[in-house]
Each structure stands twice: as structure tokens, then as C-alpha cells.
Amino acid sequence: MSSQAPPPLPPEISNDIPPLPMSHGGPPPIPTAAHNSPIIQASFLSKWYGNVIGLNGLNVTISEGITGIVGPNGAGKSTFFKLIIGTIKSNAGDLFVMGQRPWGNSRQLADIGFCPDYEFLPLDMTGQQYLEFLGGLHAMDKSSLDKRISEVTGIVKMTKDMNRKMGGYSKGMKQRLKIAGALLHSPKLLLLDEPLSGLDPLARRDIILLIKRLNKDYGHTIIVSSHVLHEIERMTHNIVLIYKGRAVASGEISQIRNLISQHPHNIIVEGYKMNELAKALVDKDYTVSVGYNENRFSLSVRVTRPDDFFNDMPELLEQTGSKIERMYSEDDNLESVFKYLVGW
């Protein structure tokens, strides 16, 4: 298996209700297990839970390397992962994982390591006991299991804590042990669902470095999900944006960012002499609208080119004598990004 990230996919954007068309048009062909076939191929994949839609006609192709699945909470990321590991069954559409349908295909799980976003570790067991249990489930013999446990605990830097009960582990340690469990049987594909969720900055950095290393040094194909775009950006430039159960864009992150930047951004500016600043901003061609918020110390500015806006700001402040106490873009939250992309 190649340890290098694949070339970026061309970006695909969907602005309308029908499912995202693939780059070659129509549903993708049923893949074979050829060497260069995609790892994941989903076409018009749908899953609903009663009246709640989990995935809604998802079309996506994922190749080797690290791929980030980005979307706000409830977008369908976890549903997609559960479909990949076959713990739930799709209601419509096709899904192929390494050329095979995952539902009812327990054998394929030998090639997949799954690290879910929820807590499930048996806290009264030690890390060592837990990994031995997993090794038994994967039919690993004692000698190779011991060797492998030593390897994976080294990779996730948990070697010295393996004889402690997991109830005493920190969140970061539990996360690392979950990843060790997913790695234990040397899977080709590693699925990490929100691995950074709830971690402190230091633990986040460690996990991000670990994920990059798992791909670069150990050759695992990794699909990692997050609702924070910039976190995924630190791991990979190859992303799939999911919103309301659909892939609204996929490909190289910089191209997607360019597309995002073409849409008007809402920027909140708070400070003094905002009236003068508002007048100066109105004259700029990138300004779509300027308005006061709840008082005259807070402006809401809508701009088409945020980079130009931020570049001009020092000069504007000097000209108007305004003073800024706080300035932030409302559009940093992923929900806004997705609304732009689907044109809402």
C-alpha cells in the first residue's frame, strides 16, 4: 500500500437539492478490487432513522491517503462511518468499501479499524487486558499479539500506562488507546470519528501528529471526521464537506476555500467611532452592506473579499480615527460555510 497521499481530487460543488453529481456524471461504476480502485465509493447513499435523515443521496469517492470528512454536528459523518463498517444498513444507494459491500460482511472488518467518537471502553479493565481481548476477537495468536500490542502502544505512546485500569485514563489517553485498538490488527483502512473531540490543545496536537504519522510512516489509509475545518486542514488537504447528509464539496481544501471566499462574509467590528468607519466602508467595492448591531459600538459588515477588507482595515482606522476593540468573522463557523456552499 502506498504511504503517500494521493493527488487531490478536483473540487465538486453542489448548490441545489438533487444529489451531487460525480465528476464523470451519474453514479459511479461498481468498482472492482483492482489495485488503484477507490477505497470508498458511495453513490446516492441514503440512510434515515424514522423521520430523521442521516444521509441523503451522498455521492463520494475516497482514495488512499488521509481524507477529512468535515461537517457540522448532525451532518451525517458518523452515519457514513457506521455504514462503512456495516453496523447499519443503507436505505438506498450503493456503498462499496475496498470493492465490497459492507453490510453483513464481517470478514471485511479485518481490513478496517474503527475508532468511534463515543466512549465505550470497559473502564474496569487495564489497557493491556483490553487490547488482548481485541486481539482474541481478531484471532491473533499469543506471540504475534504480544508483539503487536507492544508496537501499537509504542506508536500511540501508551506503553507505560498499559497496566493501569482505563477508568483512570485521561480523555487523551483513552483516545490514544481507542486508536491503538483500531490499529491492532494492522488494518488497511482506519476510520477515526471526531478523534479530537473533547481534547485539550496539547492532546489535539499529539493526535494530529499521530494521524499524519500513521499515514506517512505506516501506510494506513485514514478517513478522519471533524466539525472543525482548520483541525482537518492540519492533517490533510483532501477533504469532503458533508452537510445535511450530502457531500456539498470534495477535493483540495485550498480550492474549496477559494470558493468559500467568493461568497459574502459577515464580519463583526466592535469599538469606538464606528459611525465614521461605517461611512468609509460603504465606499469600498467589496462591501455589500454595513449595519449596526444592538448598539452604536458594534457594526455588522458584509463583504465579498474578506482578505481585502482585513488588509484595508489599518488604513481605514487611521483615516477615520476609529478604534477597534474586537473584530471577528461570523463565518468562521462551519455552518455558515455550508450555507454558502448550498446557496442558502
Binding site: 432513522y49 452515519t79 457506521k82 463498517i85 453496523t87 447499519i88 444498513k89 453483513g104 464481517s106 470478514r107 471485511q108 472488518l109 479485518a110 478496517i112 474503527f114 468511534p116 463515543y118 466512549e119 465505550f120 471502553l121 470497559p122 474496569d124 481481548f133 481485541l134 486481539g135 482474541g136 476477537l137 481478531h138 484471532a139 491473533m140 485498538g181 490488527h185
Partner: protein
């Protein structure tokens, strides 16, 4: 998948689940049940009367017919259901092991754990009674027969209650109905309806094993047909449970 992989998977689940069952806080319930049995049988043992008939009748009524279905319900109905609820089932259902095989691993752990618990309760009750009355070969025979019947009961009830825990979101309601109303009340009504309980078939086997107490005179099905019926019930529950467990979605 090779036989070795199946055996390894079953063993892994067996060890993991048995540990979970026996070290769970519910051992307090087991202890309370054992204390209840010890108290009642110890008190009964302090009165004069035929030791063998009295001891056999008490163990039959108290342990075999009352305690066993309740303990089986408490452990069996929650075994898989709790793992689905707290999502610890993830590690089993994401392993490359056919889920029906995993189900068998759970069953074996439940049946063995339940058997051990029932052996413990039988021993406690028997000692509390016969330690006062005098221990002899016949008394040991009653203990052996009761343990044998408890193990058979554990195998059957485990299959039944594990199935209910797989099928129902709230298996406790079915469990309470089955343990108290069906096995407890319906099973005690004279006439044909009582023969539709699991207890009836277990006691039918016991009638051939024990010469003392009510059980010795139980108007029963033949031991062979009782055995076959219990095997059929166990197999049906296991096959149905394994199928449901395999086809079930785990969102």
C-alpha cells in the same frame, strides 16, 4: 474464516463477558438471594420433620422454581441489551467475526456464569438446611440432583433471556412477566397449563433423579421428552437470537 478464528473469537467474548457478569455490581443481588435462601432454609432446618423430604421440597420450591428464573432474568436480559445501550458492543460488532458466533460467545458466558451462581446458591441453601439435619449420602444425592437441574435450567433460561435482551429495548418487562407470572404463577396452577412452562420440564427431569419431596411424585412428562423439549427450546432461542443479533442495526 477458519475454525481457529471462531474459537478464538468465542473464547475472547467468553472471557470478557464472564468477567463482566461475575464482577458486576449485581453480585450484591446474588448475595442477597443467597442470604434469603440461607435464612429460609436455615430456619426450616431448625424444625423437626423429615430432613430429606423437607430439604428436597424447599430446594425445589425456593431455588429451582423461584430464584433461578429471577437470577436468569436479571443477568440474561441485560447482557446484550446493556452493551447495546452503552455502546460497548462496538468492539464485538466491528470485529471480523460473524455476529452469530459472537452471540454464541455471549451465551456460553451467560450460561456458565449463571450455572456457577446457581451452584453457589444451591450449596448455601443445602448447607443451611442439612448442616442442622445431618449430612449423609441421600442428602448429597439431593444436592447433586439440584445442582444438575440448576445447570440444565441455566442453559435454557440463559438462551431465553439473552434472546429477550436482544429483541426488546426494555426486556425487564417481559422478564418480570415470564419469571413471576408465567413460571411462578401459571407454572403452579394444577392442570395442563402448567406443563407449558420451562419449570415443568426441568421438574420432570428432576422427578427421575430425586426420591424425596414433592418432586419425586411430580406428575411429569417423561425425562427423555422433557430433555428433548428443553433442548428444542434452547436451540430455538439461540438460533432466533443469533439471527436477530446478526441482522440488527447498531446505530
Amino acid at each position: 474464516m477458519s475454525l481457529n478464528a471462531y474459537v478464538s473469537g468465542i473464547l475472547a467474548i467468553f472471557k470478557y463477558s464472564t468477567r463482566k457478569i461475575l464482577l458486576n455490581k449485581r453480585w450484591v443481588i446474588t448475595l442477597l438471594m443467597a442470604l434469603l435462601v440461607a435464612g429460609i432454609m436455615g430456619y426450616a432446618g431448625s424444625f423437626e420433620g423429615d430432613a430429606l423430604d423437607g430439604g428436597s421440597a424447599l430446594m425445589d420450591m425456593l431455588i429451582l422454581s423461584f430464584i433461578m428464573p429471577i437470577i436468569a432474568m436479571i443477568y440474561g436480559a441485560s447482557l446484550i441489551r446493556n452493551e447495546i445501550e452503552d455502546k460497548s458492543i462496538t468492539q464485538v460488532i466491528t470485529a471480523p467475526l460473524d455476529r452469530s458466533i459472537s452471540y454464541l460467545g455471549y451465551y456460553l458466558s451467560l450460561a456458565v456464569s449463571l450455572s456457577l451462581i446457581m451452584i453457589f446458591i444451591n450449596l448455601v441453601g443445602w448447607l443451611a438446611f442439612f448442616a442442622q439435619k445431618g449430612i449423609n449420602g441421600d442428602a448429597l444425592g439431593i444436592l447433586g440432583a439440584m445442582i444438575g437441574l440448576s445447570v440444565i435450567g441455566s442453559l435454557v433460561y440463559s438462551a431465553l433471556f439473552q434472546l429477550t435482551g436482544t429483541v426488546f429495548k426494555r426486556p425487564i418487562y417481559f422478564g418480570l412477566f415470564f419469571a413471576f407470572i408465567w413460571e411462578g404463577f401459571i407454572g403452579s396452577i394444577p392442570g395442563a397449563i402448567g406443563s407449558y412452562t420451562i419449570k415443568h420440564f426441568i421438574r420432570s427431569i428432576g422427578a427421575g433423579w430425586i426420591d424425596y419431596g414433592e418432586l419425586a411424585n411430580y406428575n411429569a412428562a417423561s425425562a427423555a421428552s422433557a430433555f428433548l423439549t428443553l433442548i428444542a427450546i434452547t436451540m430455538a432461542c439461540l438460533v432466533m437470537g443469533a439471527f436477530i443479533f446478526r441482522e440488527k442495526e447498531y446505530p
